[in-house]
Amino acid sequence: MTLDNIDVGQEAVITKVGGEGELRCRFLDMGIIPKTKVKVQKMAPMGDPIEIQLRGYELTIRKEDAQKIEVEIL
């Protein structure tokens, strides 16, 4: 399952971080790494981007980017 498919309010744990180059490094720098817990906090009115909560802070990312993050629902 990928992060873009998680419903608002649901929690999950990251299992694999895909993407490449800059995007992937940004993910990693922001603390999006395997074994990290995330929660989808909200979705923009037009369905994209989404806001996720992790490591005690909130980050907005686009769905097409979230698609590259594999998670397991808790």
Binding site: V17, E22, L23, R24, C25, R26, L28, D29, M30, G31, I33, P34, T36, K42, M43, A44, P45, M46, G47, D48, P49, E51, R55, G56, Y57, E58, L59, T60, I61, R62, D65
Partner: protein
């Protein structure tokens, strides 16, 4: 001593900088306000300078901000680093801290917003964390100016005694540890020769940082050897190099935080933000809320507060001009000098000055939007529609600033992560109607459409945006094919805008406007007055249609015949608008010999309602002013590109004005 101030975006860095230096930089509640590094003296001590570096999350060489920060620390070797960390978001903030520690420079950690953590039942045990990180930690509240004295004391101490961080090793025993240490030894001499710490060089090499690798000047053999140990590490750890290093840092951070941080419960500030966001970013409420907020701002600015203050000011200027005129006449001064003072300076500068209130009020609202944290929400909400034209929600914020002035808007595009997004945004900003064009609209609207002020005003703004959109779509499919960059942004908690910050920004803008009124516009009015008063042989003309200016105006006027304003005065006003948009109004008023109060009547002798619309459309879209063009040139890094922007704008303006004029003429039946 030189201190570098480094930290994440939105960690309160600029606020701390202001407290340290007593300066008044504008602080926004929007990630990435600092795009340029700024230097200040610590509380008036000439020997202590602090450099405010742009907010970053990491020391990778991807964004401009990261490169600026990294190069400053590597090349200019500050005596110490003040690393500001947001205590409410400690894990993510410490990620940068670890990379700064690797650089091995005396450093103090300023733990900001500790009051908020404590206020919500959490705490950070500073002694324990100091031990884990090996540097002094000072709890501060930048907003309340608490702990700043202690911080200054601590930073002076580590800098003067050259106290280096005690901990630079963040890896547990294992494959990553082995690899970094091996590489670290291998590059030791090269790193020292290049003026960086071996540990930093090693970590960056493992991350595959090309810039650092090049600076180290390693031989083919050495590179191969290093690559080999990295591959071994990847195999042993089961992670690729980037993931392995990020994982190492975050594991260290988690361990540190487990030992020294008692997490606070969900903060009041956050709870409040969630509630506000339920409406402002809600599925059905976000867009209506946005439109209502923008309409309200426009209505208050242009019809209520700003317009009222402008009317008062222009009455005052007219009265003053009257007194001066009487005084000069009583003195019996030469009529040419009287004309210079009254028709030139008072009419020209005065007509522009009376718009000061509107501009200040507009900036008042824009700064509230930014300071409150709403601007970031706008980027969040608008990202999807903007992506359709190949831009990101962040560009939208630059465009919103463009409603105030193109110059800061173009500059703010620097926070965009890709060059492509940046260039596209810069090309679109001039289509957004800046506040300097307000005087033009206001004058024409009161002359021709007094009954539909807000509607016509709104229509002009919408037209600017619409044309910008069309241009963006065209660009997206031609010159700038490709995708916009990853959009990752934090939504800060809402906060009440600080009166100080808002007032400062207003004062800043007012000062800027006044400066321009008395420099660029003053000179422009003088030149125009001169050209209007004298003919080719420098004799005073009786009829302004024989003047120097008329000659120039008449020469280019035919260009505007298809647009419906075949009048040399209109053409001349447009030329002077290049110096500053407000000058269009002052020129028209000088040329028609009218004052602000009777300008409406005079204008209706020059324009018909239909040609007035055409003129407005043209001024809305044609070339940005000199200041904006200069900024575009700087940001695009090319004079030719800036020139092309000007040509493109003028062409688009001409075509649009022509289309509008033709359509309206048919409709009205002229």
């Amino acid at each position: 001593m030189v201190y570098a101030l480094a930290g994440n975006q939105n960690s309160g860095k600029t606020t701390l900088f202001n407290q340290l230096t007593g300066s008044n930089q504008h602080v926004g509640n929007f990630p990435g306000v600092t795009v340029e590094r700024k230097i200040g003296e610590i509380r008036g001590e000439k020997k202590d300078a602090v450099v405010d570096l742009p907010g970053i999350y990491s020391l990778r060489p991807y964004s401009k901000e990261e490169i600026v920060t990294r190069n400053f620390i590597l090349n200019e070797k500050p005596d110490a680093i003040i690393n500001i960390v947001d205590a409410t978001n400690i894990e993510r903030n410490l990620y940068l801290t670890l990379q700064l520690l690797e650089m091995h420079i005396p450093m103090v950690l300023a733990l900001n917003m500790m009051d908020e953590v404590r206020g919500n039942g959490g705490t950070i045990e500073i002694d324990k964390m100091e031990k884990e990180l090996g540097i002094p930690i000072i709890a501060i509240s930048a907003i309340k100016n608490e702990g700043v004295e202690d911080l200054i004391h601590a930073i002076r101490e580590v800098a003067s005694k050259r106290i280096y961080p005690k901990v630079t090793d963040f890896c547990e025993k294992g494959p990553v540890h082995r690899c970094i240490h091996a590489v670290s030894h291998q590059v030791e001499d090269h790193a020292e020769a290049a003026g960086m710490s071996p540990r930093f060089a090693a970590a960056k090499m493992v991350e595959g940082d090309k810039e650092i690798t090049d600076q180290l000047k390693l031989s083919e053999n050495e590179l191969e050897l290093i690559e080999h140990s990295i591959i071994e590490m990847e195999q042993d750890s089961g992670m690729d190099r980037n993931a392995a290093l990020a994982n190492m840092r975050y594991e260290f951070i988690e361990k540190t935080c487990r030992n020294s941080v008692i997490k606070c419960r969900e903060s009041k500030e956050h709870k409040r933000s969630v509630k506000i966001d339920a409406v402002l970013t809600g599925k059905y409420t976000a867009i209506p809320a946005f439109l209502i907020i923008m309409l309200l701002i426009f209505w208050l600015t242009f019809e209520v507060i700003g317009a009222f203050l402008s009317d008062i000011l222009s009455l005052g200027i007219d009265a003053l001009s009257g007194w001066v005129k009487t005084g000069l006449e009583a003195y019996g001064i030469n009529p040419v000098v009287e004309s210079l003072v009254i028709d030139g300076i008072f009419t020209g500068v005065g007509s522009v000055l009376s718009f000061l209130p509107i501009i200040v009020v507009l900036f008042f609202f824009l700064s509230i939007l930014e300071d409150s944290g709403y601007m970031a929400r706008i980027a969040f909400v608008m990202d999807r529609p903007l992506r359709k034209i190949g831009l990101s929600g962040r560009s939208f914020v630059s465009m919103l600033i463009g409603f105030g002035c193109s110059v800061p808007a173009v500059m703010s595009s620097r926070t965009l992560s890709s060059d492509r997004d940046k260039k596209m945004t810069i090309m679109l900003i001039p289509f957004i109607s800046c506040s300097a064009k307000i005087p033009i609209y206001t004058v024409f609207i009161s002359a021709f459409f007094a009954r539909h002020r807000a509607l016509v005003m709104m229509a002009l703004y919408v037209l600017g945006i619409a044309v910008g959109l069309v241009v963006a779509i065209v660009l997206n499919h031609t010159a700038f094919r490709g995708n916009s960059m990853p959009f990752m942004m934090e939504l800060p908690n809402y906060r009440f805008p600080s009166a100080k910050s808002v007032l400062l920004l207003m004062w800043d803008k007012a000062k800027d406007f006044l400066q321009r009124a008395f420099t660029v516009i003053f000179i422009a009015t003088l030149i125009i007055w001169f050209m209007q008063t004298f003919d080719m042989r420098l004799n005073v003309v009786k009829d302004s249609s024989e003047s120097l200016l008329a000659v120039v105006g008449k020469a280019i006027a035919p260009l505007f015949v298809p647009l419906g304003f075949n009048d040399w005065r209109a053409a001349t006003a447009l030329i002077s608008g290049f110096s500053a948009k407000e000058a269009v109004v002052s020129t028209l008023s000088v040329l028609t010999g009218s004052t602000m109060s009777n300008m409406s009547r005079t204008l209706s002798t020059v324009f018909t309602p239909v040609s007035a619309v055409s003129f407005l459309v043209f001024t809305l879209l044609y070339t940005p002013c000199v200041a904006a063009v200069a900024t575009i040139r700087r940001e695009m890094g090319s004079g030719l590109k800036a020139f092309l922007v000007v040509v493109m704008q003028c062409a688009v303006a001409w075509v649009c004005a022509f289309a509008v004029y033709s359509a309206l003429s048919m409709f009205v039946g002229y």
